[in-house]
C-alpha cells in the first residue's frame, strides 16, 4: 500500500471520529429532551431519588454531564439499562450480542456478494439466453420477497420438514444454526449484486479493452476473471455500502424470527420496552458501524481502481 492511501485513511479516520462525536452530541441532546427521568418509579422517595441522581451524576450541569458521558463512552461504558435488565450495564448487555450480529452480517455480505457476482457473470456471459432469464428471475424474487418471509419459508422447509438445521439459534452450534438466517438475510444482496454485475459486465465485455484482450488470444477464463471482473467490481463496491446498511436493519427482524441473541433483536426488544438508553446506545453502534463500512468501501475502491489513487507522476508525450 502506498503512502497516499495511508494518508487518505488517516484523514478519513480523523473525520470519522469527528462525525461520531457529533452523533454522540445529538444523541445526548435527544436523551436530555426526552420527558421524565430514568427513575420515575413511584415507590422511590425524594431522598432516594437525589441519591440516585448523585450516583449517576445527573445532579451536575448539562455541560458537565456531556463530558462525563463522553468520558464514559471512551471507556466503553454506555450507562445502564432501565427496564430490560434493570441496572445492568449496557456494555455487559451488548458484550456477546455484537459478535453474533457482526458475524451473521459478514457471513451474509460475503455469501450474498459471491453468489450475486457469480449469477451476474453467468447472466452477462449467456446474455439473452435461458440462463440470463433464470438469473434475472432469481434477482426479481430476491428483491420482491421480504427477507423475513424468506426466512420463514427456509425455516419451515429446512428446519421442520427436512430437519437439517436447527429452527432457533443454538449457541452450541453457532455455525450450523446461523446458516438459514445468513441465507435469508443475503437475498437482497444477492439480487442487487446480481443485477448490477450483469449490466456492468455486459458493458465491460463490450469495451475496446476486452476486444484487445481477446485479440491477445487469451482464454475465456482469463478474460472474465482477470480483465472483466476487476472493472466490474468497481461499480459493485459502490452499491455494497448501502446494501450493508440495509442488512443491518434487516438483521433486526431476522434475529427476532430466528431467535438469534444479537443486537438486532435487542433493538427490537428495547424499542418495545421503551428502554431509551439501550436504544440510543444501539443507534450509536449502528452509526459507528456504518461509518466504518463506508471507510472500508472507500479504501477498497481506491485499491481496486488505480485511477482513484492520487499520484503526481503523470506522463505526457
Amino acid at each position: 500500500m502506498n503512502k497516499s492511501i495511508m494518508k487518505y485513511i488517516g484523514k478519513r479516520l480523523l473525520m470519522s471520529v469527528i462525525t461520531l462525536f457529533v452523533i454522540v452530541l445529538i444523541l445526548f441532546i435527544l436523551m436530555k429532551l426526552m420527558p421524565g427521568t430514568p427513575f420515575n418509579d413511584e415507590k422511590l422517595t425524594e431522598a432516594q431519588r437525589v441519591l440516585l441522581y448523585k450516583k449517576y451524576g445527573l445532579d451536575k450541569s448539562v455541560f458537565e454531564q456531556f463530558f462525563l458521558y463522553v468520558k464514559n463512552l471512551l471507556k466503553g461504558d454506555f450507562g445502564v439499562s432501565y427496564s430490560i435488565l434493570k441496572n445492568a450495564p449496557i456494555s455487559m448487555l451488548l458484550g456477546s450480542r455484537i459478535g453474533i450480529t457482526i458475524r451473521i452480517g459478514l457471513q451474509s455480505v460475503v455469501f450474498g456478494s459471491i453468489v450475486g457476482v457469480l449469477l451476474g457473470i453467468v447472466a452477462a456471459m449467456k446474455h439473452n439466453t435461458i440462463w440470463d432469464n433464470i438469473s434475472t428471475f432469481i434477482s426479481v424474487l430476491g428483491v420482491s420477497i421480504p427477507s423475513f418471509v424468506f426466512a420463514l419459508i427456509l425455516l419451515i422447509a429446512f428446519g421442520r420438514e427436512i430437519p437439517i438445521f436447527p429452527i432457533t439459534y443454538d449457541s452450541s452450534q453457532p455455525i450450523l444454526s446461523s446458516i438459514l438466517p445468513t441465507i435469508a438475510l443475503s437475498t437482497l444482496t444477492i439480487a442487487q449484486v446480481a443485477r448490477f454485475t450483469r449490466s456492468e459486465m455486459i458493458e465491460v465485455l463490450d469495451s475496446d479493452y476486452m476486444l484487445l484482450a481477446e485479440a491477445k488470444g487469451l482464454n475465456k477464463r482469463t478474460l472474465i476473471f482477470k480483465h472483466a471482473l476487476r472493472n466490474t467490481l468497481i461499480s459493485i463496491i459502490t452499491i455494497l455500502a448501502p446494501l450493508i446498511v440495509g442488512l443491518m436493519t434487516g438483521s433486526a427482524v431476522i434475529e427476532k424470527i430466528c431467535g438469534i441473541p444479537g443486537i438486532g433483536s435487542l433493538l427490537v426488544e428495547a424499542i418495545t420496552a421503551n428502554d431509551y438508553n439501550v436504544v440510543i446506545t444501539l443507534a450509536f453502534i449502528y452509526s459507528a458501524m456504518y461509518i466504518g463500512i463506508m471507510l472500508v468501501v472507500d479504501v477498497l475502491y481506491s485499491i481496486i481502481d488505480p485511477r482513484i489513487r492520487l499520484s503526481k507522476e503523470d506522463g505526457n508525450e
Binding site: 475496446d208 484487445l212 481477446e214 491477445k216 482464454n219 506522463g315
Partner: protein, 354 residues
C-alpha cells in the same frame, strides 16, 4: 518469388440483426506478401473492420462466415504450415493464431487498454500466455519492447497505469502489446484516427520502422488516403462489402480506374486545390440488408450505364497488379476518363514525387 503470407479468397460474411441479415462482406479476395503492407481503404461501413476481425477470429457473436477461405502460411520450427483460418475453431484461433501469429492495433488508444492493469502486466500477458515465458524474462522483453516503440523511462513506465499516459503513448503501448509475441502479421485498424496530427506522423513512422526491422506483413485499415500513400505497398479500395479496385500504390494513386476511387481521391483535402469547395461523393452507401442488384455504386455513379443497374461487374485486369470492378473497364464500354481537376492533381502529385 515473394512469399505469400495471407491469401483471402471469396470471403463472404453476414450479420444477423433484429432487422434481418446484413451481408457485410460480399466475396472479397486479396493477398498479403511477406514484409509488405496492404492498405484497405473505404468509407465507414464498407466492411474494412469486419474483414480484419474475421482474420483475427474475433467477429461479434451475431456474425458468421458464409463462404470463402483465409489461407495463412507461417513458419513453425523451420516447417511451413498452411492453415485455413475459416476452418479453425475459436479455441484453436485463440491458442495458435490470435496475438501470437496475427496481432492487432486498435483504433482508439484511450479505450483499448484495461484501466485497472499496469502497462507492464498488459504487455507481458501475451508472452506468458502463449510461450510460457517466465515473469522475469517477460519483464525484460517488455522493457525492450517499450524502448522499441519509443517509450522513455521504460522500466518505470512498466508500473504505470494507462490513465497516467497520453494518447500517443498509449498507442505505442498498444503497438508494443501487438508485437509482444513476434507476430507474422500486424493488423492496424485506423491506428492514428483518434490521435492528433503531429502524433499521427510519429506513429506511422514507428509502424514502418518496426515493419522493416522485424520483416512483418502489415494490413492497414484507414479511410485516410494521405496515410495510405505514406505506408502502403498495395491498396484495396472497398465499397459496400466488396473490393472494387486494387493494385500497387502507384497504380491506384496515379492511374485510378474506378469512379469511386476518383471520388475518394478528389475528396482528399489539399492545400493547393483550386476549387472553391471540397469535392464530395454524392449520395450514401447502399443498405446491405437488401440484395444489391448490379453494381452497388451505380446510384452514386455519375458515369453509370444501364448494365450497372442489372449486372454486377466482374474484376477486370487492367495491367500489372491492377484490378478494377466496373463496367467502364469493359472493352465495349464508352471511353470515359477521370475528371480534369483530378487529372491535374495527379500530375502535380507525380511531379512532387519525382
Amino acid at each position: 518469388m515473394k512469399e505469400r503470407v495471407l491469401s483471402i479468397r471469396d470471403l463472404s460474411i453476414s450479420f444477423k440483426t433484429n432487422h434481418g441479415v446484413v451481408n457485410a462482406i460480399r466475396g472479397i479476395r486479396f493477398d498479403l506478401f511477406k514484409g509488405e503492407t496492404v492498405a484497405i481503404v473505404g468509407e465507414s461501413g464498407s466492411g474494412k473492420s469486419v474483414t480484419v476481425k474475421a482474420i483475427m477470429g474475433i467477429l461479434s457473436s451475431n456474425g458468421f462466415i458464409n463462404s470463402g477461405k483465409i489461407d495463412f502460411t507461417y513458419h513453425r520450427d523451420d516447417e511451413v504450415v498452411k492453415k485455413d483460418l475459416v476452418q479453425l475453431s475459436k479455441k484453436e484461433m485463440r491458442q495458435h493464431i490470435c496475438g501470437k501469429r496475427i496481432a492487432m492495433v486498435f483504433q482508439d488508444p484511450m479505450t483499448s487498454l484495461n484501466p485497472t492493469m499496469t502497462i507492464g502486466e498488459q504487455v507481458m500477458e501475451g508472452m506468458i500466455h502463449h510461450y510460457g515465458t517466465s515473469r522475469k524474462e517477460a519483464f525484460k522483453k517488455a522493457v525492450e519492447l517499450l524502448e522499441l516503440v519509443g517509450i522513455t523511462d521504460a522500466q518505470k513506465r512498466m508500473k504505470s497505469y494507462p490513465h497516467q499516459l497520453s494518447g500517443g503513448m498509449r498507442q505505442r503501448i498498444v503497438i508494443a502489446i501487438a508485437l509482444s509475441c513476434d507476430p507474422e502479421i500486424l493488423i492496424c485498424d485506423e491506428p492514428t484516427t483518434a490521435l492528433d496530427v503531429t502524433i499521427q506522423a510519429k506513429i506511422l513512422q514507428l509502424i514502418k520502422d518496426i515493419q522493416k526491422k522485424k520483416n512483418i506483413s502489415v494490413i492497414y485499415i484507414t479511410h485516410d488516403l494521405g496515410v495510405v500513400a505514406k505506408v502502403a505497398d498495395y491498396v484495396a479500395v472497398m465499397y459496400a462489402g466488396k473490393i472494387i479496385e486494387k493494385g500497387s500504390v502507384d497504380e491506384i494513386f496515379y492511374d485510378p480506374r474506378h469512379p469511386y476511387t476518383w471520388g475518394l481521391l478528389s475528396s482528399m483535402p489539399d492545400v493547393n486545390t483550386v476549387d472553391e469547395e471540397l469535392y464530395t461523393i454524392p449520395g450514401t452507401p447502399p443498405n446491405l440488408l437488401r440484395q444489391v442488384p448490379g453494381d452497388a455504386f451505380a446510384p452514386r455513379n455519375h458515369y453509370a450505364m444501364k448494365i450497372d443497374y442489372i449486372e454486377e461487374p466482374p474484376m477486370f485486369n487492367v495491367g500489372g497488379k491492377h484490378r478494377v470492378s466496373t463496367w467502364l473497364a469493359h472493352e465495349k464500354a464508352p471511353k470515359v476518363s477521370m475528371p480534369a481537376s483530378l487529372k491535374q492533381r495527379i500530375e502535380k502529385m507525380k511531379k512532387e514525387a519525382e
